[in-house]
């Protein structure tokens, strides 16, 4: 309760609200731009640029003599650009790899920044205290004037991205093709680079040079898990960025000695981990669940098929089979077989005949499904031996897994390709029955 009260008290402060608006906008623009950064494999370039603007900030401070947001902006933009040009030149003109050039620019430029920073400290300028905020970020040190400047900049960044979305998408996906149709690829890349430098500049005071890269990388990576569309990815990344910016600022605001940057990163990481685990389709948990469901389906289908094969063996469709009979025909885990039988019963695919031991009987629907599995299995075996030239004694295992996957459309193609054959390579009858071709068990 008292935590909540603290947060409310914090929000009551008009200056805090300014700061929150600033980190909110910063979060959006960094998240949005980060999508292009990671898709163009430039995630760590952002890291290098963020470190490399430090000397620019310090030089601006030395020249202007105080923390004027415009001067800092210009200083960091210039050094951001220089760092990009240097990285590019190293990769272009030497045998060194991209990551070596990124690492070198990052560390040497940062070293220069540290030299300048300590130089400023040694000259004892009273205003210098504010410069420390650039290392790990201190959103509380943002003045309303700073927020106005950086907020406007964020809005400009977003507008530029909206206008040049088509071009940025094209250049990010396939720069070679873009160039081939006459796109000014270099200029668009320069535009993206400029936007990146601007975003980093905006984020400096809130997140700090050291952790700024994470604002570009983590929200964008989180967004990727939820969607297969770039447009939606951008929206989600922007949202994750905004939440992290605001969340991190509030948390660090509650404990005054805390720098903002690390808390923003931790908030973003939390949202990333949720995306990584629980996003539909791409999320780890969902994928695990899907795998599990598939395994259960395969298990159920195998049990169903085994009952059918027993019927086929002795030609007695009305005979009740015990679990023992089933396991004798096909070796399966007892516990799993029991749960499969229960599921098949509740799905109405088998009848349960009480007794000691209990017996099972295929319903008409169950028989049709089982027959389809056997049919697809044998069709596939025949296809492999006749069209892919695989020896007859090698095809069973493949068919055993394919029978659960083959769709009615593929089945139809197989049937017509093979001319509705009567027997499989092992001369077993291929059952067609009078059934319609339904999908898998649970489809």
């Amino acid at each position: 309760m008292s935590e909540l009260l603290n947060i409310l008290q914090y929000l009551d402060d008009p200056n805090a609200r300014y700061v929150l608006a600033g980190t909110f906008l910063l979060g959006i623009s960094a998240g949005v731009l980060g999508c292009f950064a990671i898709l163009r494999r430039r995630a760590l370039v952002g890291d290098a640029v963020a470190h490399a603007v430090l000397p620019g900030v310090c030089l601006a401070f030395i020249i202007v003599g105080d923390k004027d947001p415009f001067a800092l902006l210009i200083g960091s933009m210039i050094f951001g650009w220089i760092s990009m040009i240097v990285m590019d030149a190293i990769v272009r003109n030497t045998k060194l790899s991209t990551d070596a050039s990124i690492g070198m620019v990052l560390s040497v430029f940062f070293g220069l920044g540290v030299v300048l920073l300590t130089y400023i400290q040694s000259t004892g300028n009273v205003n210098q205290s504010g410069l420390d905020a650039f290392l790990f970020g201190n959103a509380a040190s943002l003045l309303p004037g700073d927020v106005m400047v950086f907020g406007t900049l964020s809005v400009i960044i977003l507008i530029v991205i909206a206008v040049s979305y088509k071009e940025m998408k094209m250049v990010s996906f396939d720069p070679g093709f873009a160039k081939s149709i006459g796109y000014p690829v270099k200029r668009i890349e320069f535009l993206i680079a400029t936007l990146m430098v601007m975003t980093i500049t905006v984020g400096l005071q809130a997140v700090g040079v050291v952790l700024m890269a994470s604002m570009l990388i983590i929200p964008a990576a989180a967004g990727r898990y939820w969607t297969e569309s770039l447009g939606i990815m951008i929206v989600i990344a922007g949202a994750v960025g905004a939440i992290s910016g605001v969340g991190g600022t509030v948390i660090s605001g509650l404990a005054p000695a805390m720098p903002t940057g690390p808390w923003i990163v931790v908030t973003a990481l939390f949202l990333f981990l949720i995306s990584f685990m629980f996003a539909p389709k791409r999320g780890e948990v969902i994928r695990k669940l899907k795998n599990m469901r598939n395994r259960v389906r395969v298990q159920d289908e195998n049990v169903l098929k085994t009952i059918y094969l027993l019927e086929e063996q002795d030609g007695l469709a009305g005979k009740v089979r015990s679990m023992r009979d089933i396991l004798k025909r096909r070796r399966m885990n007892i516990r799993k077989t029991r749960s499969s039988l229960a599921r098949l019963h509740s799905d109405g695919l088998i009848q349960l005949i009480p007794g000691k031991p209990a017996g099972y009987l295929l319903t008409d629907e169950g028989r049709a499904r089982a027959m389809r599995l056997v049919r697809v299995h044998r069709l596939w075996e025949l296809y492999l031996t006749s069209h892919v030239q695989i020896a007859g004694d090698h095809v069973h295992d493949d068919a055993e897994s394919m029978e659960h996957l083959i769709t009615p459309e593929i089945e139809e193609q197989l049937t017509s390709l093979l001319g509705r054959p009567a027997t499989d390579p092992h001369l077993r009858k291929i059952p067609y029955g009078e059934t319609t071709t339904g999908g898998g068990l649970l489809s």
Binding site: R41, M170, F173, D174, G176, F177, K179, S180, I181, L230
Partner: protein
């Protein structure tokens, strides 16, 4: 014919990478309306040639003209199909979006594609038999399907010249047939098609002209004249015996197919 400008002229072209020449003093004119295979061993500079024509690589020396003008002036008339591996197939866009990119060549910067562009993109997808996949994410495609989608993007450009970098690499048999059919349709429409190709066996019967490349231009001309064991041995350095055998095989095949084709 003679007063018409050739689709592509290449004069004294040399391309080098870190002092090492990749293409050495290449000189040729591409005739209009032909389906041309560019073949040669690995590292012979086949892709480099196409990329240099497209202006993606800066040559050390030489001149390239497209319909008598620098390529930058005629870009809408020339379509390029890059190698499949050149892009990240996990990129979050749909098949349809990718094909629509072909229309960007006719759009001004910062303009959005209109209904006409959308219609053309849809038709291009139909032509390669991928209409059912329009909404799919591109990572869900097989290699052959990816190649078809790339081809559809080039078709959507509605160009006069098509330069294709290994469009038949790693595709299934069905896709190969579809692509070859498509290429001959393009040729029959009077388009000029240059295809970097790696499979010597399928040269005969599918291409009209052949360009043999290995750092130098070994030979360039109508297939019957150029696609000979002697030239191939020159291009492949004579050290690959299996290839020579394949050529003999291919020749036999082409001998059978010849009457139907010409």
């Amino acid at each position: 014919m003679s007063n018409k400008l050739p689709p592509i002229e290449v004069h004294d072209l040399t391309v080098a990478y870190r002092k090492k020449p990749v293409l050495w003093d290449i000189d040729f004119d591409v005739p209009e309306g032909k389906l041309i295979a560019v073949i040669g061993p690995n590292g012979a500079g086949k892709s480099t040639l196409i990329k240099t024509i497209m202006g993606l690589i800066e040559p050390v020396s030489g001149k390239i003209l497209v319909y008598g003008k620098p390529v930058d002036r005629e870009r809408p008339r020339i379509a390029y199909v890059p190698q499949r591996e050149s892009v990240d197939w996990d990129f979050p866009i749909s098949v349809y979006e990718l094909v629509l990119m072909g229309r960007y060549s006719h759009l001004k910067l910062f303009r959005r594609p209109g209904s006409n562009d959308r219609r053309i993109a849809t038709e291009a997808l139909e032509k390669v038999g991928m209409s059912d996949y329009a909404g799919r994410q591109i990572s869900q495609l097989s290699g052959g399907q990816q190649q078809r989608v790339f081809l559809a993007r080039a078709l959507a450009q509605q160009a006069d010249i098509y330069l294709m970098d290994e469009p038949l690499a790693g595709v299934d048999a069905a896709t190969e047939t579809t692509i070859f059919e498509l290429l001959s349709v393009l040729r029959d429409e009077g388009k000029t098609v240059l295809v970097v190709h790696h499979d010597l066996q399928s040269v005969s019967g599918n291409f009209d002209w052949v360009m043999l490349l290995n750092l130098r231009l070994v030979a360039f001309g109508p297939r019957e004249e150029v696609f000979t064991t002697e030239n191939l041995q020159k291009a492949y350095g004579g050290r690959l015996n299996i290839l020579t055998q394949v050529v003999e095989l291919a020749k036999e095949k082409s001998f059978v197919r010849e009457p139907g084709h010409e």
